[in-house]
Symmetry: C2
Subunit: 257 residues, 2 copies
Protein backbone atom coordinates (compact mmCIF):
# COMPACT_ATOMS: atom_id res chain seq x y z
CA UNK A 1 0.00 0.00 0.00
CA UNK A 2 1.01 3.57 0.82
CA UNK A 3 3.76 5.25 -1.16
CA UNK A 4 5.53 7.87 1.00
CA UNK A 5 6.64 10.86 -1.11
CA UNK A 6 8.72 13.65 0.45
CA UNK A 7 8.64 17.16 -1.05
CA UNK A 8 12.02 18.60 -0.10
CA UNK A 9 14.56 21.31 -0.92
CA UNK A 10 16.49 23.35 1.64
CA UNK A 11 16.28 26.46 -0.55
CA UNK A 12 13.50 28.64 0.76
CA UNK A 13 10.40 29.69 -1.16
CA UNK A 14 10.76 27.27 -4.12
CA UNK A 15 7.18 25.94 -3.99
CA UNK A 16 7.46 22.97 -1.59
CA UNK A 17 4.22 23.72 0.25
CA UNK A 18 2.35 24.74 -2.91
CA UNK A 19 3.41 21.44 -4.51
CA UNK A 20 2.58 19.31 -1.45
CA UNK A 21 -0.92 20.80 -1.06
CA UNK A 22 -1.87 20.77 -4.74
CA UNK A 23 -0.41 17.35 -5.53
CA UNK A 24 -2.22 15.86 -2.50
CA UNK A 25 -5.51 17.52 -3.53
CA UNK A 26 -5.19 16.31 -7.16
CA UNK A 27 -4.43 12.74 -6.02
CA UNK A 28 -7.51 12.88 -3.75
CA UNK A 29 -9.61 14.23 -6.63
CA UNK A 30 -8.46 11.14 -8.60
CA UNK A 31 -9.97 9.10 -5.72
CA UNK A 32 -6.65 7.95 -4.32
CA UNK A 33 -6.75 7.92 -0.52
CA UNK A 34 -4.08 10.49 0.46
CA UNK A 35 -2.53 11.83 3.66
CA UNK A 36 -0.79 15.22 3.65
CA UNK A 37 1.75 15.31 6.48
CA UNK A 38 3.06 18.78 7.48
CA UNK A 39 6.48 18.78 9.20
CA UNK A 40 7.29 22.46 8.69
CA UNK A 41 7.13 24.66 11.85
CA UNK A 42 5.60 27.39 9.66
CA UNK A 43 2.59 25.05 9.21
CA UNK A 44 1.82 26.56 5.80
CA UNK A 45 0.45 23.28 4.36
CA UNK A 46 -1.90 23.10 7.36
CA UNK A 47 -3.32 26.61 6.89
CA UNK A 48 -3.12 26.49 3.08
CA UNK A 49 -5.76 23.74 3.20
CA UNK A 50 -8.02 25.84 5.41
CA UNK A 51 -7.33 24.30 8.84
CA UNK A 52 -7.51 26.88 11.62
CA UNK A 53 -4.43 26.91 13.82
CA UNK A 54 -6.50 27.65 16.93
CA UNK A 55 -8.64 24.49 16.33
CA UNK A 56 -5.64 22.15 16.17
CA UNK A 57 -5.33 20.24 19.39
CA UNK A 58 -2.36 17.97 18.72
CA UNK A 59 0.19 18.16 15.93
CA UNK A 60 3.24 16.46 14.44
CA UNK A 61 5.18 17.93 17.36
CA UNK A 62 3.28 15.64 19.74
CA UNK A 63 3.95 12.66 17.47
CA UNK A 64 7.69 13.28 17.13
CA UNK A 65 8.44 14.40 20.68
CA UNK A 66 5.63 13.15 22.97
CA UNK A 67 5.06 9.71 21.37
CA UNK A 68 1.40 10.45 20.55
CA UNK A 69 0.25 7.93 17.88
CA UNK A 70 -0.02 9.55 14.42
CA UNK A 71 -3.66 8.41 13.95
CA UNK A 72 -4.67 10.53 16.98
CA UNK A 73 -3.65 13.81 15.29
CA UNK A 74 -4.99 13.09 11.77
CA UNK A 75 -7.95 15.28 10.73
CA UNK A 76 -10.13 15.23 7.63
CA UNK A 77 -9.70 17.98 5.01
CA UNK A 78 -12.15 20.91 5.21
CA UNK A 79 -12.51 20.66 1.37
CA UNK A 80 -15.87 18.96 1.06
CA UNK A 81 -15.32 17.95 -2.56
CA UNK A 82 -12.51 15.54 -1.59
CA UNK A 83 -13.27 14.89 2.09
CA UNK A 84 -13.46 11.10 1.53
CA UNK A 85 -9.96 10.96 0.09
CA UNK A 86 -7.79 13.56 1.82
CA UNK A 87 -6.61 13.66 5.45
CA UNK A 88 -4.05 15.97 7.07
CA UNK A 89 -1.50 15.46 9.85
CA UNK A 90 -1.10 19.12 10.91
CA UNK A 91 1.99 20.98 12.05
CA UNK A 92 2.12 23.77 14.60
CA UNK A 93 4.46 26.35 16.06
CA UNK A 94 5.90 23.94 18.67
CA UNK A 95 7.82 22.19 15.89
CA UNK A 96 10.27 25.13 15.95
CA UNK A 97 11.84 23.64 19.09
CA UNK A 98 11.60 20.04 17.83
CA UNK A 99 14.94 20.04 16.00
CA UNK A 100 16.85 20.86 19.20
CA UNK A 101 14.74 18.48 21.31
CA UNK A 102 15.22 15.63 18.80
CA UNK A 103 19.02 15.78 19.23
CA UNK A 104 18.62 14.15 22.68
CA UNK A 105 16.54 11.17 21.47
CA UNK A 106 17.83 7.68 20.71
CA UNK A 107 17.33 6.77 17.00
CA UNK A 108 16.36 10.43 16.46
CA UNK A 109 16.36 10.14 12.63
CA UNK A 110 13.74 7.37 12.77
CA UNK A 111 11.02 9.06 14.81
CA UNK A 112 8.85 9.96 11.80
CA UNK A 113 9.37 6.66 9.99
CA UNK A 114 8.39 4.72 13.12
CA UNK A 115 5.25 6.84 13.62
CA UNK A 116 4.04 6.29 10.03
CA UNK A 117 4.31 2.46 10.22
CA UNK A 118 0.99 2.08 12.06
CA UNK A 119 -1.13 4.02 9.51
CA UNK A 120 0.81 3.47 6.27
CA UNK A 121 -1.62 0.87 4.89
CA UNK A 122 -4.65 3.18 5.19
CA UNK A 123 -3.43 5.44 2.38
CA UNK A 124 -2.38 5.03 -1.25
CA UNK A 125 -0.16 8.15 -1.02
CA UNK A 126 1.44 9.96 1.89
CA UNK A 127 2.82 13.39 0.84
CA UNK A 128 5.20 15.12 3.28
CA UNK A 129 5.92 18.87 3.23
CA UNK A 130 9.38 19.71 4.69
CA UNK A 131 10.95 22.89 6.11
CA UNK A 132 13.63 24.91 4.22
CA UNK A 133 16.64 23.26 5.89
CA UNK A 134 18.68 20.05 6.00
CA UNK A 135 18.33 19.66 9.76
CA UNK A 136 16.88 16.78 11.76
CA UNK A 137 13.27 17.39 10.66
CA UNK A 138 14.17 17.04 6.96
CA UNK A 139 16.45 14.07 7.74
CA UNK A 140 13.44 12.43 9.45
CA UNK A 141 11.37 13.06 6.31
CA UNK A 142 14.03 11.54 4.00
CA UNK A 143 14.44 8.55 6.32
CA UNK A 144 10.69 7.84 6.16
CA UNK A 145 10.23 8.43 2.42
CA UNK A 146 10.10 5.97 -0.49
CA UNK A 147 10.85 8.81 -2.92
CA UNK A 148 11.53 12.56 -3.10
CA UNK A 149 10.05 15.28 -5.30
CA UNK A 150 12.48 18.21 -5.57
CA UNK A 151 10.73 21.51 -6.47
CA UNK A 152 13.21 23.86 -8.11
CA UNK A 153 12.49 27.52 -8.69
CA UNK A 154 13.73 28.69 -12.09
CA UNK A 155 16.32 31.00 -10.53
CA UNK A 156 20.08 31.12 -10.00
CA UNK A 157 20.19 30.45 -6.23
CA UNK A 158 18.00 27.39 -6.74
CA UNK A 159 20.86 25.76 -8.67
CA UNK A 160 23.37 26.49 -5.95
CA UNK A 161 21.93 24.23 -3.25
CA UNK A 162 21.26 21.15 -5.41
CA UNK A 163 24.56 19.35 -4.86
CA UNK A 164 24.17 19.85 -1.09
CA UNK A 165 20.65 18.36 -1.26
CA UNK A 166 21.78 15.42 -3.38
CA UNK A 167 24.68 14.58 -1.07
CA UNK A 168 22.29 14.66 1.90
CA UNK A 169 19.93 12.27 0.09
CA UNK A 170 22.89 9.98 -0.75
CA UNK A 171 24.00 10.03 2.90
CA UNK A 172 20.47 9.12 4.06
CA UNK A 173 20.36 6.29 1.49
CA UNK A 174 23.72 4.89 2.71
CA UNK A 175 23.07 5.11 6.44
CA UNK A 176 19.36 5.41 7.19
CA UNK A 177 17.03 4.47 4.34
CA UNK A 178 18.33 2.32 1.48
CA UNK A 179 15.02 2.44 -0.43
CA UNK A 180 14.85 6.20 -1.08
CA UNK A 181 14.90 7.27 -4.75
CA UNK A 182 14.40 10.59 -6.60
CA UNK A 183 10.81 10.70 -7.88
CA UNK A 184 11.80 13.71 -9.96
CA UNK A 185 12.86 17.32 -10.20
CA UNK A 186 9.94 19.70 -10.71
CA UNK A 187 10.49 23.15 -12.21
CA UNK A 188 8.31 25.72 -10.45
CA UNK A 189 7.47 29.41 -10.99
CA UNK A 190 8.64 28.92 -14.58
CA UNK A 191 8.35 31.93 -16.89
CA UNK A 192 9.11 30.86 -20.45
CA UNK A 193 9.53 34.50 -21.48
CA UNK A 194 12.76 34.96 -19.45
CA UNK A 195 16.22 33.74 -20.41
CA UNK A 196 16.88 32.91 -16.77
CA UNK A 197 14.08 30.31 -16.64
CA UNK A 198 15.26 28.68 -19.86
CA UNK A 199 18.92 28.67 -18.73
CA UNK A 200 17.99 27.10 -15.38
CA UNK A 201 15.81 24.51 -17.17
CA UNK A 202 18.76 23.46 -19.36
CA UNK A 203 21.04 23.13 -16.31
CA UNK A 204 18.45 21.13 -14.35
CA UNK A 205 17.80 18.72 -17.22
CA UNK A 206 21.56 18.07 -17.46
CA UNK A 207 21.83 17.57 -13.69
CA UNK A 208 18.83 15.21 -13.28
CA UNK A 209 18.81 13.47 -16.69
CA UNK A 210 15.76 11.10 -16.70
CA UNK A 211 14.59 12.01 -13.18
CA UNK A 212 12.77 15.08 -14.43
CA UNK A 213 8.98 15.60 -14.45
CA UNK A 214 7.49 16.48 -17.85
CA UNK A 215 5.06 18.74 -15.98
CA UNK A 216 6.41 22.25 -15.44
CA UNK A 217 4.62 24.56 -13.02
CA UNK A 218 4.35 28.08 -14.52
CA UNK A 219 4.42 31.26 -12.43
CA UNK A 220 0.70 31.82 -11.90
CA UNK A 221 -0.79 34.43 -9.54
CA UNK A 222 -3.84 32.20 -8.88
CA UNK A 223 -1.53 29.70 -7.12
CA UNK A 224 -0.45 32.35 -4.63
CA UNK A 225 -4.01 33.63 -4.10
CA UNK A 226 -5.52 30.19 -3.37
CA UNK A 227 -3.99 29.69 0.13
CA UNK A 228 -5.64 32.86 1.45
CA UNK A 229 -8.98 31.13 0.75
CA UNK A 230 -7.70 27.86 2.28
CA UNK A 231 -8.29 26.05 -1.00
CA UNK A 232 -6.20 23.90 -3.36
CA UNK A 233 -5.91 25.42 -6.84
CA UNK A 234 -8.29 22.89 -8.44
CA UNK A 235 -11.14 24.23 -6.28
CA UNK A 236 -10.04 27.88 -6.27
CA UNK A 237 -9.66 28.18 -10.06
CA UNK A 238 -9.83 24.97 -12.08
CA UNK A 239 -9.35 26.86 -15.37
CA UNK A 240 -5.97 28.35 -14.29
CA UNK A 241 -2.58 27.32 -15.69
CA UNK A 242 -1.61 26.41 -12.11
CA UNK A 243 -4.47 23.89 -11.77
CA UNK A 244 -3.77 22.30 -15.16
CA UNK A 245 -0.05 21.87 -14.38
CA UNK A 246 -0.67 20.22 -10.98
CA UNK A 247 -3.29 17.88 -12.46
CA UNK A 248 -0.68 16.85 -15.03
CA UNK A 249 1.88 16.30 -12.25
CA UNK A 250 -0.57 14.08 -10.32
CA UNK A 251 -1.10 11.99 -13.47
CA UNK A 252 2.67 11.48 -13.77
CA UNK A 253 2.95 10.46 -10.10
CA UNK A 254 0.06 7.99 -10.47
CA UNK A 255 1.69 6.56 -13.63
CA UNK A 256 4.93 6.01 -11.64
CA UNK A 257 2.94 3.65 -9.40
CA UNK B 1 30.91 52.74 15.68
CA UNK B 2 29.44 49.77 13.89
CA UNK B 3 25.71 49.27 13.71
CA UNK B 4 24.84 45.54 13.48
CA UNK B 5 21.74 44.98 11.31
CA UNK B 6 20.21 41.50 10.97
CA UNK B 7 18.16 40.59 7.89
CA UNK B 8 15.81 37.91 9.14
CA UNK B 9 12.56 36.07 8.43
CA UNK B 10 12.03 32.33 8.85
CA UNK B 11 9.78 32.22 5.78
CA UNK B 12 11.82 30.96 2.87
CA UNK B 13 12.50 32.84 -0.36
CA UNK B 14 11.30 36.29 0.78
CA UNK B 15 14.40 38.20 -0.36
CA UNK B 16 16.70 38.07 2.72
CA UNK B 17 19.87 37.38 0.74
CA UNK B 18 18.94 39.76 -2.07
CA UNK B 19 18.34 42.50 0.54
CA UNK B 20 21.53 41.77 2.52
CA UNK B 21 23.77 41.82 -0.59
CA UNK B 22 22.24 44.88 -2.23
CA UNK B 23 21.89 46.95 0.95
CA UNK B 24 25.52 46.20 1.85
CA UNK B 25 26.69 47.13 -1.66
CA UNK B 26 24.70 50.40 -1.65
CA UNK B 27 26.06 51.35 1.79
CA UNK B 28 29.60 50.66 0.50
CA UNK B 29 28.89 52.74 -2.62
CA UNK B 30 27.94 55.58 -0.23
CA UNK B 31 31.46 55.17 1.21
CA UNK B 32 30.32 53.63 4.50
CA UNK B 33 32.70 50.87 5.57
CA UNK B 34 30.50 47.76 5.57
CA UNK B 35 30.87 44.08 6.46
CA UNK B 36 28.44 41.52 5.00
CA UNK B 37 28.30 38.49 7.31
CA UNK B 38 26.77 35.30 5.83
CA UNK B 39 25.37 32.84 8.42
CA UNK B 40 23.21 30.80 6.02
CA UNK B 41 24.47 27.24 5.23
CA UNK B 42 23.30 27.82 1.65
CA UNK B 43 26.00 30.54 1.42
CA UNK B 44 23.97 32.46 -1.16
CA UNK B 45 25.22 35.88 0.00
CA UNK B 46 28.79 34.60 -0.39
CA UNK B 47 28.30 33.40 -3.98
CA UNK B 48 25.90 36.22 -4.90
CA UNK B 49 28.83 38.63 -4.43
CA UNK B 50 31.05 36.58 -6.69
CA UNK B 51 33.15 34.70 -4.13
CA UNK B 52 34.07 31.21 -5.31
CA UNK B 53 33.17 28.49 -2.81
CA UNK B 54 36.30 26.50 -3.71
CA UNK B 55 38.56 29.48 -2.84
CA UNK B 56 37.12 29.93 0.66
CA UNK B 57 39.52 28.55 3.21
CA UNK B 58 37.76 29.34 6.49
CA UNK B 59 34.17 30.41 7.06
CA UNK B 60 31.65 31.44 9.70
CA UNK B 61 31.52 27.76 10.66
CA UNK B 62 35.12 27.97 11.91
CA UNK B 63 34.30 31.15 13.84
CA UNK B 64 31.18 29.76 15.56
CA UNK B 65 32.41 26.21 16.23
CA UNK B 66 36.24 26.22 16.12
CA UNK B 67 36.86 29.59 17.84
CA UNK B 68 38.74 31.03 14.86
CA UNK B 69 38.80 34.86 15.24
CA UNK B 70 36.37 36.59 12.86
CA UNK B 71 39.10 38.85 11.37
CA UNK B 72 40.90 35.73 10.08
CA UNK B 73 38.03 34.74 7.77
CA UNK B 74 37.11 38.21 6.45
CA UNK B 75 37.84 38.74 2.73
CA UNK B 76 37.53 41.81 0.54
CA UNK B 77 34.70 41.98 -2.01
CA UNK B 78 35.57 41.00 -5.60
CA UNK B 79 33.61 44.11 -6.78
CA UNK B 80 36.42 46.49 -7.64
CA UNK B 81 34.16 49.56 -7.63
CA UNK B 82 33.57 49.25 -3.87
CA UNK B 83 36.55 47.18 -2.72
CA UNK B 84 37.69 49.86 -0.22
CA UNK B 85 34.32 49.79 1.59
CA UNK B 86 32.92 46.24 1.48
CA UNK B 87 34.26 43.10 3.19
CA UNK B 88 32.60 39.69 3.49
CA UNK B 89 32.63 37.03 6.22
CA UNK B 90 31.74 34.01 4.09
CA UNK B 91 29.55 31.01 4.92
CA UNK B 92 30.04 27.46 3.70
CA UNK B 93 28.35 24.09 3.63
CA UNK B 94 29.73 23.05 7.04
CA UNK B 95 27.27 25.45 8.70
CA UNK B 96 24.55 22.86 8.02
CA UNK B 97 25.84 20.87 10.99
CA UNK B 98 26.45 23.96 13.14
CA UNK B 99 22.94 24.15 14.60
CA UNK B 100 23.25 20.66 16.11
CA UNK B 101 26.87 21.22 17.21
CA UNK B 102 25.99 24.55 18.88
CA UNK B 103 23.46 22.83 21.18
CA UNK B 104 26.38 21.38 23.18
CA UNK B 105 28.18 24.71 23.78
CA UNK B 106 27.98 26.84 26.90
CA UNK B 107 26.40 30.28 26.14
CA UNK B 108 25.53 28.90 22.73
CA UNK B 109 23.32 31.89 21.80
CA UNK B 110 26.22 34.29 22.30
CA UNK B 111 28.83 32.74 20.00
CA UNK B 112 28.26 35.21 17.14
CA UNK B 113 27.93 38.27 19.35
CA UNK B 114 31.20 37.43 21.13
CA UNK B 115 33.02 36.90 17.81
CA UNK B 116 31.91 40.29 16.43
CA UNK B 117 33.16 42.27 19.46
CA UNK B 118 36.77 42.31 18.28
CA UNK B 119 36.06 43.78 14.81
CA UNK B 120 32.92 45.85 15.47
CA UNK B 121 34.75 49.20 15.49
CA UNK B 122 36.29 48.70 12.04
CA UNK B 123 32.92 49.04 10.27
CA UNK B 124 30.11 51.60 10.13
CA UNK B 125 27.59 48.85 9.23
CA UNK B 126 27.59 45.09 9.73
CA UNK B 127 24.79 43.41 7.71
CA UNK B 128 23.95 39.78 8.60
CA UNK B 129 22.10 37.39 6.24
CA UNK B 130 20.23 34.63 8.13
CA UNK B 131 18.86 31.21 7.14
CA UNK B 132 15.11 30.50 6.73
CA UNK B 133 14.52 29.18 10.26
CA UNK B 134 14.23 30.26 13.90
CA UNK B 135 16.88 27.83 15.08
CA UNK B 136 20.14 28.52 16.93
CA UNK B 137 21.85 30.23 13.96
CA UNK B 138 19.08 32.84 13.69
CA UNK B 139 18.94 33.22 17.49
CA UNK B 140 22.70 33.93 17.38
CA UNK B 141 22.07 36.60 14.75
CA UNK B 142 19.28 38.27 16.78
CA UNK B 143 21.42 38.14 19.93
CA UNK B 144 24.27 39.95 18.16
CA UNK B 145 22.14 42.56 16.33
CA UNK B 146 21.31 46.17 17.21
CA UNK B 147 18.31 46.07 14.83
CA UNK B 148 16.42 43.78 12.43
CA UNK B 149 15.23 44.36 8.87
CA UNK B 150 12.32 42.02 8.08
CA UNK B 151 11.89 41.38 4.32
CA UNK B 152 8.30 40.37 3.61
CA UNK B 153 7.21 38.93 0.29
CA UNK B 154 3.87 40.35 -0.83
CA UNK B 155 2.15 36.98 -0.52
CA UNK B 156 -0.28 35.22 1.84
CA UNK B 157 2.15 32.78 3.51
CA UNK B 158 4.48 35.68 4.29
CA UNK B 159 1.83 37.07 6.66
CA UNK B 160 1.42 33.76 8.46
CA UNK B 161 4.86 33.57 10.05
CA UNK B 162 5.11 37.18 11.28
CA UNK B 163 3.68 36.67 14.76
CA UNK B 164 6.07 33.73 15.26
CA UNK B 165 9.00 35.92 14.20
CA UNK B 166 7.92 38.82 16.42
CA UNK B 167 7.53 36.60 19.48
CA UNK B 168 11.01 35.16 18.85
CA UNK B 169 12.43 38.70 18.67
CA UNK B 170 10.59 39.62 21.88
CA UNK B 171 12.00 36.52 23.61
CA UNK B 172 15.53 37.41 22.48
CA UNK B 173 15.03 40.98 23.76
CA UNK B 174 13.84 39.73 27.18
CA UNK B 175 16.49 37.05 27.74
CA UNK B 176 19.51 37.61 25.48
CA UNK B 177 19.76 41.08 23.92
CA UNK B 178 17.85 43.99 25.46
CA UNK B 179 19.03 46.48 22.82
CA UNK B 180 17.45 44.83 19.74
CA UNK B 181 14.82 46.91 17.89
CA UNK B 182 12.94 46.53 14.60
CA UNK B 183 14.72 48.65 11.96
CA UNK B 184 11.70 48.11 9.71
CA UNK B 185 9.55 45.82 7.62
CA UNK B 186 10.53 45.84 3.95
CA UNK B 187 8.04 44.77 1.28
CA UNK B 188 9.78 42.72 -1.43
CA UNK B 189 8.78 41.30 -4.84
CA UNK B 190 5.93 43.81 -4.82
CA UNK B 191 3.70 43.89 -7.90
CA UNK B 192 1.36 46.88 -7.70
CA UNK B 193 -0.84 45.38 -10.44
CA UNK B 194 -2.05 42.51 -8.24
CA UNK B 195 -4.70 42.73 -5.53
CA UNK B 196 -2.68 40.29 -3.44
CA UNK B 197 0.30 42.66 -3.17
CA UNK B 198 -1.93 45.58 -2.19
CA UNK B 199 -3.87 43.49 0.37
CA UNK B 200 -0.63 42.25 1.94
CA UNK B 201 0.72 45.82 2.02
CA UNK B 202 -2.34 47.02 3.92
CA UNK B 203 -2.02 44.17 6.44
CA UNK B 204 1.71 44.77 6.95
CA UNK B 205 1.28 48.51 7.48
CA UNK B 206 -1.34 47.77 10.16
CA UNK B 207 0.92 45.18 11.81
CA UNK B 208 4.13 47.26 11.87
CA UNK B 209 2.69 50.81 12.15
CA UNK B 210 5.66 53.23 12.04
CA UNK B 211 8.34 50.53 11.71
CA UNK B 212 7.82 50.29 7.96
CA UNK B 213 10.34 51.30 5.27
CA UNK B 214 9.06 53.81 2.72
CA UNK B 215 11.16 51.98 0.13
CA UNK B 216 9.31 49.08 -1.48
CA UNK B 217 11.28 46.57 -3.56
CA UNK B 218 9.34 45.73 -6.76
CA UNK B 219 9.44 42.32 -8.46
CA UNK B 220 12.23 42.90 -10.97
CA UNK B 221 13.85 40.17 -13.09
CA UNK B 222 17.20 42.03 -13.09
CA UNK B 223 17.48 41.36 -9.32
CA UNK B 224 17.28 37.62 -9.91
CA UNK B 225 19.71 37.73 -12.85
CA UNK B 226 22.44 39.68 -11.00
CA UNK B 227 23.62 36.85 -8.67
CA UNK B 228 24.50 34.62 -11.62
CA UNK B 229 27.08 37.29 -12.54
CA UNK B 230 28.23 37.62 -8.92
CA UNK B 231 27.28 41.30 -8.91
CA UNK B 232 25.11 43.55 -6.76
CA UNK B 233 22.27 45.13 -8.72
CA UNK B 234 23.87 48.62 -8.75
CA UNK B 235 26.76 47.23 -10.84
CA UNK B 236 24.72 44.72 -12.86
CA UNK B 237 22.05 47.24 -13.97
CA UNK B 238 22.06 50.64 -12.30
CA UNK B 239 19.07 51.81 -14.39
CA UNK B 240 16.79 49.00 -13.15
CA UNK B 241 13.88 49.44 -10.72
CA UNK B 242 15.66 47.00 -8.42
CA UNK B 243 18.77 49.18 -8.18
CA UNK B 244 16.76 52.36 -7.57
CA UNK B 245 14.74 50.75 -4.77
CA UNK B 246 17.78 49.39 -2.94
CA UNK B 247 19.58 52.76 -3.21
CA UNK B 248 16.50 54.34 -1.64
CA UNK B 249 16.54 51.72 1.14
CA UNK B 250 20.22 52.44 1.86
CA UNK B 251 19.42 56.16 2.17
CA UNK B 252 16.71 55.36 4.73
CA UNK B 253 19.08 53.15 6.72
CA UNK B 254 21.77 55.86 6.71
CA UNK B 255 19.18 58.44 7.82
CA UNK B 256 18.26 56.17 10.76
CA UNK B 257 21.87 56.58 11.98
N1 LIG C 1 3.90 28.54 -9.53
C1 LIG C 1 3.72 29.58 -8.71
N2 LIG C 1 3.35 30.77 -9.23
C2 LIG C 1 3.20 31.86 -8.42
N3 LIG C 1 3.40 31.85 -7.09
C3 LIG C 1 3.76 30.70 -6.52
C4 LIG C 1 3.93 29.49 -7.27
N4 LIG C 1 4.30 28.50 -6.42
C5 LIG C 1 4.35 29.06 -5.19
N5 LIG C 1 4.01 30.38 -5.24
C6 LIG C 1 4.02 31.34 -4.14
O1 LIG C 1 5.39 31.59 -3.83
C7 LIG C 1 5.59 31.59 -2.43
C8 LIG C 1 6.56 30.47 -2.06
O2 LIG C 1 5.95 29.21 -2.27
P1 LIG C 1 5.88 28.12 -1.10
O3 LIG C 1 5.55 28.78 0.18
O4 LIG C 1 5.02 27.02 -1.58
O5 LIG C 1 7.40 27.67 -1.09
P2 LIG C 1 8.14 26.77 -0.01
O6 LIG C 1 9.29 26.15 -0.69
O7 LIG C 1 7.16 25.89 0.65
O8 LIG C 1 8.65 27.88 1.03
P3 LIG C 1 9.39 27.57 2.44
O9 LIG C 1 10.81 27.34 2.04
O10 LIG C 1 9.20 28.83 3.24
O11 LIG C 1 8.73 26.39 3.03
C9 LIG C 1 4.23 31.44 -1.79
O12 LIG C 1 3.77 32.71 -1.45
C10 LIG C 1 3.38 30.79 -2.88
O13 LIG C 1 2.05 31.16 -2.79
N1 LIG D 1 12.54 41.94 -5.92
C1 LIG D 1 12.79 40.79 -6.56
N2 LIG D 1 12.33 40.63 -7.80
C2 LIG D 1 12.54 39.44 -8.46
N3 LIG D 1 13.21 38.39 -7.95
C3 LIG D 1 13.69 38.51 -6.71
C4 LIG D 1 13.53 39.71 -5.93
N4 LIG D 1 14.14 39.52 -4.74
C5 LIG D 1 14.65 38.27 -4.75
N5 LIG D 1 14.40 37.67 -5.93
C6 LIG D 1 14.72 36.28 -6.32
O1 LIG D 1 13.84 35.44 -5.57
C7 LIG D 1 14.54 34.32 -5.04
C8 LIG D 1 14.47 34.37 -3.51
O2 LIG D 1 15.20 35.46 -3.01
P1 LIG D 1 16.34 35.27 -1.91
O3 LIG D 1 17.13 34.06 -2.21
O4 LIG D 1 17.04 36.54 -1.75
O5 LIG D 1 15.41 35.00 -0.65
P2 LIG D 1 15.85 34.45 0.78
O6 LIG D 1 14.83 34.93 1.74
O7 LIG D 1 17.25 34.82 1.03
O8 LIG D 1 15.73 32.87 0.57
P3 LIG D 1 16.16 31.75 1.67
O9 LIG D 1 14.98 31.70 2.59
O10 LIG D 1 16.35 30.49 0.87
O11 LIG D 1 17.41 32.23 2.31
C9 LIG D 1 15.97 34.42 -5.57
O12 LIG D 1 16.06 33.60 -6.70
C10 LIG D 1 16.12 35.88 -5.92
O13 LIG D 1 17.02 36.08 -6.98
MG1 LIG E 1 6.79 25.64 2.73
MG1 LIG F 1 18.86 33.56 1.62
Amino acid sequence: MGRIIAVANQKGGVGKTTTAINLAACLAAAEKKTLLLDIDPQANATSGLGLEKSKIDKSMYDVLIKDVPLREIIVNTPCLEIERYLDIAPADIHLTGAEIELTTFNKREWRLSASIESIKDKYKYIIIDSPPSLGLLTVNVLTAADSVIIPIQSEYYALEGLSQLMSTIDLVRERLNSKIVIEGALLTMFDARTNLSREVEAEIRKFFKKKFFNSIIPRNIRLSEAPSYGQPIIFYDLSSKGAKSYLKLAKEVIKNG
